[in-house]
């Protein structure tokens, strides 16, 4: 038993299983959060029917998608049509392997971590192109071509932004990058006399484009090409594409947080006297607040099962708040807390973009990418490099 536990494969295996098992649910709830946040922007309520305040909506959606008839168009290239969403999901989930959720919780800390994620997201494009191509539908084809052009061109500024950050961090390992920010005492986004803000902003813009989110959601612009590359997909295969999309959003935000915003470090990680306020009081207050909100919700829903669910949620939130009060447990989960907290803020920003901006046109998108973002990202690289050289 001891032997098995001490083997280097046990913890990664458990973590892998956990990610694969839990992430689809997390993705479902990110979708719910997106719908709720958008609804908030748009003076409406969002899903309210399934469960109290629509909390069970993701489950209902998942069940619906799983039970739908599995349609493969007669003219489709069956095997590729079958394999494309699998490829997309596979690559998106594989990228989680090097994601540093906290100082303890990660599957692998490889010395080429960031490269691995970039590689996986590049292969993920193939899933979209193949899916659009094999559907044998004109709308799908147009969507696939758009996504291919878009993702390939926006990977360049994305890459340059990361390279700039790597020059500061001096390592490719995800854990190493976080460690470097701890040693420097400043997040990479703000280092180098604020010059690193250029690649940070570029990374976020290019990242939005890379994940096909509004205002760069041309590959699936519903008002133009219906649903783009996944027009012909339905049921579980569609769910896989959906999962892949939200997984890649999560991964991208995770990379942004790790590379630019200190990963699992708390803000001002080196300032000692902030230890207690930020690592203990802040999370406790936050979860108490959420728990309080759930408690108020418990009072307001009418049906018994809804009351039950809300009460359980309230208790769970209070329990989590209590966990942060126990020093031994706090140490284990605080990194995870900060990582998720920052990722969720970025995801909120993504949703905010979607609620605010109109969509780019294809040629404008290419112009923005090649004419502005790529030169600026190269300029940012050179400027930061020179400043680094002069100050080292």
């Amino acid at each position: 038993m001891e032997e098995i536990l001490n083997s280097p494969y046990v913890f990664p295996a458990i973590a892998t299983a956990l990610i694969i098992a839990v992430f689809p649910l997390v993705a479902g709830y990110i979708v719910l959060a997106e719908r709720k946040v958008l609804a908030d922007f748009q003076v409406r309520l969002g899903p309210m029917r399934v469960g109290p305040y629509g909390f069970l909506q993701p489950l209902a959606d998942a069940v619906k998608l799983l039970l739908k008839e599995d349609i493969i168009p007669a003219a489709a290239d069956t095997w590729i049509f079958w394999g494309a969403p699998v490829l997309s999901t596979f690559t998106a989930l594989t990228a989680f392997a090097v994601m540093p959720f906290s100082d303890r919780f990660y599957v692998a800390d490889v010395n080429i971590g960031i490269l691995f994620i970039l590689a996986m997201s590049s292969i993920g494009i193939l899933g979209l192109i193949l899916g659009g191509w094999s559907s044998n539908s004109k709308y799908s084809l147009l969507g696939a071509l758009r996504s291919a052009a878009q993702m390939v061109s926006y990977e360049v500024p994305l890459g340059f932004a990361i390279v700039t950050a790597l020059m500061v961090a001096q390592t490719l390992s995800m854990q190493g990058i976080v460690q470097a920010q701890y040693d420097k005492g400043i997040w990479i986004a703000f280092s180098n006399y604020g010059l690193m803000l250029i690649p940070t902003a570029l990374f976020i813009i290019a990242g939005v484009a890379e994940t096909n989110r509004a205002p760069f959601d041309l590959p699936e612009a519903e008002s133009e090409i219906v649903a783009g590359f996944h027009t012909e997909y339905s049921g579980f295969r569609f769910a896989l594409y959906f999962l892949a999309e939200y997984a890649s959003i999560f991964v991208l935000c995770g990379v942004a947080v790790t590379v630019f915003f200190g990963g699992w470090l708390r803000p001002f990680a080196n300032v000692g006297f902030l230890e207690v306020p930020l690592n203990v009081i802040f999370p406790i207050l936050l979860f108490l607040l959420i728990g309080g909100g759930c408690g108020v919700g418990t009072m307001r829903v009418s049906q018994a099962y809804e009351k039950g669910i809300m009460a359980v949620l309230t208790l769970a939130m209070l329990l989590v708040a209590a966990l942060f009060a126990i020093p031994a447990v706090n140490v284990l989960i605080i990194g995870f807390f900060w990582f998720l907290f920052k990722v969720l803020i970025l995801i909120y920003m993504f949703i905010w973009f979607r609620g605010t901006f109109p969509r780019f046109r294809y040629d404008q998108l290419m112009q923005l990418g090649w004419r502005y973002l790529i030169p600026i990202s190269m300029g940012g690289l050179v400027v930061n490099g020179v400043v680094l050289l002069l100050t080292s």
Binding site: K138, L142, A221, E224, F357, P358, R359, F360
Partner: protein, 371 residues
Amino acid sequence: MATQTTFLDTNELVLNMGPQHPSTHGVLRVILKLDGERVLGTECVIGYLHRGVEKIAENRTYQQFAPYVDRMDYVAAVSNGLGYCMAAEVLGGIEVPERAQCVRVILTELNRIASHLLWLGTHALDIGAMTPVFYCFREREEVLKIFEKYCGARLTTHSFRIGGLQYETYDNFEKDCHTFCDWLDKKVDEYEELLTTNRIWVGRTKGVGILDAEACKAYGVTGPVLRAAGVAWDLRKAQPYCGYEKYDFDIPTCQNGDTYDRYIVRMAEFRQSTRIIRQAVDSLPSGPIKGKVSKVFKPPIGEAYVSIEAPKGELGYYIVSDGSVQPYRVRVRPPSFVNLQALDEMCRGALIADVVAIIGTIDIVLGEVDR
């Protein structure tokens, strides 16, 4: 378009957009000929919503047919009703009382606002801004509430009768109108903040779907599309009806005739409409609401053409009477149908994304195109 010089020949793609498409505003079918994403030509296929409204008119009495016209441009039902009633009144030589005319102006302008709100919301949605549509529907709801309080119906109101009005205005009608106008002006500022200077919005609309004044006149295009091309042609000013000459308002125009200018013109029309409503409400005279119309309305033999400035352009009714209780022939000149003709001209050389923007900017309602 450069000619292909290599032996690797590329083919054009023929794409069928609609009738089941999210942004063809109903059941418009557009056949696009594409070179990559660039549009070489378009062809509209219409008639999916054809209900034979004009033929129905020949088998109904004048009064019976009035509710049918509401179903043509159903987002501007009041304007349709106004045009039809005015044509019948001209045919029958009926005088409409002052008060009825004033209420007609108020309701028609409210309807113009509702129609433009729907246009703004769906147009922004087509271009990818998904939030304005919800704000627009929130404001439109207030207009519909006023209609509902006035005549019980919200969308196809049938609020006018030949000779005047069926109902007297309700208590607080004036106050409701004023409150709404004040509120809407602030909201229009909000929309402008969200879109007018938005870089993406400007990029998506400026220079897209240009239709200059000459082309507009050649196609017979009217309404905001014509005014955006710099022609200050508005039937409310050119041949005033319903007492529009009494109100002080401007005709907003622009110069370039592109999608952005059409947006600017319609945004300005919101403000002009509230201006007219305020004046009309303040000057609302008392008196009867219906002229002398016999129960059996039998206009003398003859014909009449009356056109009004509907939210989408010139809406004309041509009625031929054979002296019986039923019209001999009713012909409608719907602005959407006429304006839609210019789609091909506007779309040539544009991208697919522009096509939906252009369909949105013409502001068509298929119920009116197909009738």
